[in-house]
Subunit: 303 residues, 6 copies
């Protein structure tokens, strides 16, 4: 698939979920690298950077994709000539892909321990990481209920509800506005995450931050399951995570004249509204996000 | 229209809005009283009570309707014979209807003074009281923007957006989950209300209480516009305001097996999340709700 | 019984509970008045005031007693001669006693409506007002559990536990320190009260204020059941409710040298930690305490 | 002493205090290892693991004991044959014992610097770590008062009061419920700790978390003195610290029928209610607990 | 003195303090009324209204002055002819003046009871009401310290410091920015007030609201001493209390180009940051401000 | 310049700003070392320590100066003889000076990314680090306004206002007490810092902590720009950062008798009131201060 086609698939949400997008992006780039033979190092690196920049721009708020592709480029640049650069890039591609695939398994083994038996878990939107934890905990014999929000405008909460109900987990489904109405019934809020910044903010589906605030108000434990490949090294240098503004038509097909529809896809939850994060390196409090980023992207032999 | 037909119209939301429902209920009862001649006082009061009980049950959370009809019954009971009872009932009907109609005008004159010029007002759902204030303020020359939430599951926020845009007020329209994302841009939250309890809780459309919490978190002034005929005397005696659970199909037409959809129509905002209420007797803090109830329903010559 | 004997019985906790103490004090004073014939108005009022002052000093923090006796004195002073003073005093005595007795019944009818069916109620110490509400609610068919704290140093919480268990109410009994551990399981905190000040502070058994704080932290509804005869008119004039310091030996029989044991019997809960109060005049928020005091002691024809 | 006897001594509280229990457990295991000659590595490790598992089960909430014994087992497993395994186990035993003994001294030297001269310190229960800091600070010439809670149900607060009074420190002793009453008089809350989790929760005697909340409410500095050998590596993997439920009879010898007594020995204080922790590696905020755990148990050459 | 001269004296701060300004304004109007004989009722009322409007405009945020003059006008309008109008105006003038004068005495008798013996009181700016309370409490034998802020830009805190030191009260004087540094040492914050709104906001010298917030954060009791003639009836109808913006030169004589100096004279403290208000009708919580306004200006025989 | 002269220049604020003071102190010490030839190692180290101790005492709250000089001494002590000690001291001097100079550049590149375009930044006092960020952001084309407080008693806020206005940045200048009045208009609070403790407290100009509290109350992002050489290693061992009490005459030249003026130069902001810190090693949350201290002063090859 060409870079442009891949860009379109990501942009149009044909590929969805931070994990899937990152792997799809990596595969696209590996394909791109393998398809051609470069003679000159400079030319190869220039072409690679362009392809990567293009792919990253498909979704502004996808640090998983961004981090993975940046890592491939960074490693490629260490080569002496075109051939070595290419080799290093492919090695980096394999390492990242392995990391992304294995991280889920590790994360799930941590997460299941935090699922309360006979409890009620509150979740928002659809996160394959969250459903993986819940389904594994259910398989291991824990019994619980899950409250899902519908998650306007795209109703991804219905996907969560279906997926959980299918394996027998009892689900209560509500509108997003009813979060505070039912929060006192929940024992744990568990959401996914698209990114974590160096100062501990969680970027996740619009509505997450008010659910976390509502959990705080009710002294309900609030957590997020996020793989470390989503911890954004760019925020260490001061960048803010950009927030993608999506098509207003997702919210209202034909709004009347004079009505401007705004459709931010994500919001930022401050670290003090989160009790813990479930990651592939164990339980982490968001205030330690910077240390996780340093360990992940800078310290450990550059991965 | 028969009591049964009226009951159906209210239940199916053909008549909507606390004010409209109360007036519709009053008119139905007046019609019922005028249609027949009772000989016996006891029989008249029995029939009247049955009709009123039936009408009230159409919407559990409609203290405006309930308060108005209860008042008619209470006055009717003071008569010596059927004729006098009927006369007193009709007088009470007229008094209540006048009160409901005039209360809006008084309330609006108070409310417009609280609309900040060049400010941003955040509202939720559709409240004819709120739109009346905003349209009057606009007419008097104040300039401001309004943020409206779509208000799932029935999208009443679109009604608000349309109504305001029609008179030229600039509207920003968002999903309910984006309230916290935009709250720092707002100068005032202004919502309507279906009931106020003796201990100061505001009953309003599901989602209101989390918007008010989000306003509190951001030090944005939070207010509600509520006519005093909605201040519920029953709560003084300890009753909680019942919360209507509506048809799950409003939320999800065909949920999969194992998914239970819950659809509460209202929630309760605690008084400390509200800075002031705009009423027909002026600015009132919800902590004074009990005094308002005593003045309205018990002290002033029984109205 | 002589004033001195009565004083001793109150001081030594032979008579306990705000209601019982007030009635016992009233009966003692009625007895005192009836035992003798005064000729001179001045002498009568002087003797009466002395007796009342003595009785009131038996428990510094008992506004119920204080309010009742002050009312008798105030009414007595309106007489022209000794005989009329005496007559007015006896009338006042009867009115107060009736008020105290009837207030419980009225309060209970309000309170039962606030007991959640299938809920968990958290209480502290022993309050006959609270147990009356709970037993009545149980009798009317509501089903719930009650968490009782042991209430050091006098273990009055065991009295509550026994009394409730006797009628079949399931009781969970914990040390005072475990309040926060179990608060998330409770739907309602319900305590009694010894006094309410004009600015809305609740004076109740030591430990109440931290339980109410813990309830606030967990968004658990917090309430107090207090008869209006305990709303202290003296605080309107700026007085603080005095806090009785009891015998250190209640806490530790023989503390080692160098250890000073302090044993305050009550603490003050600020009004914003209380959601509502259940009283004989209905649901009242503590922020309306001043209005209740004015209505009770000053406005309504001086009772 | 046999493993069973040692188990009994720990279970029955004959050995008390996290530090004492850990050392006692270590000594028991060393004794166990030295008593016999194993030929086969597998058999030795099996026996060792059984003995350790048995000992750990004596108190569910004792990560100090658990961490120390786990470390011995982990090191033992690195040997090639039975002899080397044994040797490594004994070396690990000595290292852990030294660490536990020295950690107190290091911690105290940090802690004394945080004791305010002419201040008031509030403590709960009995912690030999806390009393060591206070006595050392007093010895160095600092002057202060200490408020001790009695700490139901076992009155360990009396032990603290006696121990401090003995060296001349003025002590004020109160019931647990009076914490909020006296908190505004305190400059520093200082408690001990049984465990710290990877997400920063402090596990300590029941009642600690509400005292810390009360300190937060009053802007009183809140701290805990905890040696790093109590920082629980198991929580990194997602486990919750188990909370020991002790014999109800400690609370109420003969509760009436229908009254269920619950007696949790510990509670969890969230990290944001703690200003700092005093440890053997210096001042640590609980939000850095994960880093401390990694440094202690995983990074530094496996100790 | 002419209306214009009086206007100038108020505007230039030659007359200062809400009480002094109100009395000065009343005297000016009485003088104005007495100076001339009007024949026509209409002409008299027109002239009176113009004079009053002019005087009120001298200080936008002075509800004491505004309320007093509005009352005179309102009473005057009840007359049948010019003579009677004049007579009623003079009677109203006398009543208001008496009220203002006597209110201080009543308020002080309430306030002294709230001054803690051996405590530390924190105040801001200069309020003659506050210093009257403190001096009276000192005279009655209470002993305490007072912390005064300097109160930029006009340093009125120095006036307070001098006045209190003169009678022997020990004073600690700090910059406004040090409020949080010293708040934990204070037992009570006591400030004056220029106005109270129907929804309970206190309008007082700039800086008051952040001091009250700082008191809340430290669980230090926060109070304000405000006479009821400053409770603003205009806010009942929805008006906000206007905030006077004073001359930037008070802050910075010659700011450089590009620097805009803003000098608001007052700020608004929300009612939940205030524990009680000391008034001439006793202790009042700001949430009851509306009731006080109704009692003062509308109910009690129109004063 | 002699040590005494340098001491005087620092003490009298002739040299100001943490960075300038640290560099000035380093230069003074280098000068001192170079001026003389020591024969004996012991004598050299003794003289060096005395000189350093003297210089450090000029400003108690200047960890930048203290940390830099301590580092020179620590390195000097590693030499074998006087000559080597001297050489190592000079090398350490150069390294520290380079670090201090380069840290600003790195920090600014991080900070500019956090300046919101079209936003309002609120700052306090004068920090050359903060103005460097703001001026660089302006130069790069971002457009914003800055609110500066005057910062009593020394009016350093005017220096900030002048410096920013000079390069064209629009400035709004207010008294310190008006922080809460304008906080809702700000998008970001950005202050400098004199020290950061191991437990995350920020030491900065008096008033900072209440501004940060006011920012928290309004959900305005709050940040501090602090170079890592100001992160105080001494606090790791339990020391509190001392707070310098300056000359009362800076506040009030001639206070009346009985008025004690207190003039603390700094206050402590707790870590939970700060959203992020901008440093030369990137974005850091104050809860990670201990890790930064370990990395800076102990781990990385001792710098």
């Amino acid at each position: 698939m060409s870079i442009s086609q891949a860009y379109q698939r990501i942009k149009s949400l044909k590929v969805q979920g931070a994990r899937n997008i990152a792997i799809f992006g990596l595969d696209t780039i590996a394909d791109f690298i393998n398809r051609k033979n470069w003679k000159k190092k400079d030319k190869f690196l220039l072409d690679l950077e362009r392809a990567i920049t293009r792919l990253k721009s498909a979704r502004p708020t996808e640090p998983g994709l961004r981090n993975a592709l940046n890592y491939v480029l960074k490693q490629a640049k260490k080569g002496e000539d075109a051939e070595e650069c290419k080799k290093l890039a492919i090695e980096a591609y394999k390492a990242m892909k392995k990391d992304i695939k294995e991280s889920l398994k590790k994360l799930v083994s941590v997460g299941v321990r935090r699922i309360p038996d006979d409890g009620v878990i509150f979740t928002h939107c659809h996160s394959s990481t969250v459903t993986a934890i819940l389904k594994e905990a259910w398989k291991e014999g824990k019994r619980f209920k899950v409250i899902t929000t519908e998650t306007r405008p795209k109703f991804q909460g219905r996907v969560t509800a279906k997926e959980l109900a299918k394996v027998g987990i009892p689900v209560i489904h509500i509108v997003d506005s009813a979060a505070r109405f039912y929060m006192n019934d929940a024992d744990l809020v568990l959401v996914g995450g698209d990114a974590v910044t160096a100062d501990g903010f969680l970027i996740n589906k619009i509505g997450t931050s008010q659910i976390m605030l509502v959990a705080k108000e009710a002294r309900t434990m609030a957590s997020a399951a996020v793989e470390t490949f989503k911890f954004d090294p760019g925020t260490l240098a001061g960048n803010w995570e950009p927030i993608e503004m999506r098509d207003p038509k997702e919210v209202w097909e034909n709004p009347p004249k004079g009505v401007k529809v705004l459709n931010p896809a994500f919001d930022m939850t401050p670290p003090n509204y989160i009790d813990f994060m479930i990651t592939d390196v164990g339980i982490v409090h968001p205030y330690e996000a910077r240390t996780v980023i340093l360990d992940k992207w800078f310290r450990e032999g550059e991965q």
